[in-house]
């Protein structure tokens, strides 16, 4: 990297971390929303019976 490796590689490393965080947090957020919706469904079913 012509003496610039300590600047170039951290940039690509941080990009990888940011991308991974975005994917992980979005998946987690979606899973939590599905769980809440399922709980609401169970609660509704319990209320009806």
């Amino acid at each position: 990297m012509g003496g610039y490796a300590r600047y170039v590689w951290p940039c690509f490393g941080l990009a990888t971390v940011i991308f991974a965080w975005n994917l992980w947090s979005a998946r987690r957020y979606l899973a939590a929303a599905r769980l809440r919706a399922a709980r609401a469904l169970i609660m509704a079913a319990g209320g009806e019976s």
């Binding site: 490796a5 600047y7 940039c11 975005n22 979005a26 929303a33 919706a37 609401a40 469904l41």
Partner: protein, 244 residues
């Protein structure tokens, strides 16, 4: 036409479309980013002035463009929600904010890492850098404001208003290098006329930009599904979807 517009923006329709598009966006993003990284790091020639440090642009420039693009998307979605009272607009805006903030952090840190060898400093209170930092504060402000209200609808409206007011910062970021004396270099790609960059360097940059866009599309679709589910938890279509 309006019936079609409202049908298109209906939560069950959007939920289904977002779920279907996510894997496609992710797969195409992986291809575009893979090509951009390999071509940008291994095959693009070193810059005659900046040497190999110029390769930082393959992360820095797409993330900076995306930080502005995502903010504009968020403000437009907020405006649509406020003007036409389409609740989905608030869901899109809420889904955009954390993604845009993360791209802004990436743009600021990679810009700082590029500035050290080129300018001799990690940070300068330069118009471009300062306005990009203000963009990060706006993202944080919009997210904080949305969660600051007990009534979610009020939080959505307040966040939409702030994002619309803050959109004035986007052209300031873009034209700061033209309007003021700036350490930051001027536009090399997004300008009128031919880009002042060789094609061997430009292709990986455009591929990275496409990859960032597709990745944003994928994460937006995932977050949008979650936002729609959270807001429509009691709706009949959600019950049916959960049953199936």
């Amino acid at each position: 036409m309006w019936t079609w517009f409202y049908k298109l923006a209906s939560p069950p329709h959007v939920y289904g479309v977002a779920a279907a598009f996510t894997p496609w966006f992710l797969g195409l993003a992986a291809i575009a980013l893979g090509y951009g990284v390999v071509d940008g790091l291994a095959f693009a020639p070193a810059d005659y002035q900046q040497g190999d440090a110029f390769r930082i642009i393959y992360v820095h420039v797409p993330s900076a463009w995306m930080s502005e693009f995502v903010y504009t998307t968020m403000a437009i979605a907020g405006a649509i929600a406020l003007i036409w009272r389409i609740k989905l607009g608030h869901a899109v805006a809420a889904a955009c904010a954390p993604i845009g903030a993360s791209f802004t952090v990436l743009a600021l840190v990679t810009g700082s890492l590029w500035g050290r060898p080129m300018w001799g400093t990690y940070w300068a209170w330069d118009p471009r850098l300062t306005s990009e930092l203000i963009l990060l504060f706006l993202y944080v402000g919009v997210m904080s404001l949305r969660s600051a209200f007990e009534d979610a609808a009020r939080g959505d409206r307040a966040a939409a208003l702030l994002s619309i007011v803050g959109v004035v910062n986007v052209p300031i970021i873009h034209f700061s290098v033209v309007w003021w004396n700036s350490l930051h270099q001027g536009a090399t790609v997004a300008k009128f006329g031919k880009p002042s960059m060789d094609l061997s360097m430009l292709w990986p940059l455009l591929s990275m930009f496409l990859g960032f866009m597709l990745f944003f599309g994928a994460v937006l679709c995932m977050r949008l599904q979650a936002e729609v589910l959270n807001r429509e938890r009691q709706a009949k279509w959600v019950r049916e979807a959960m049953h199936s």
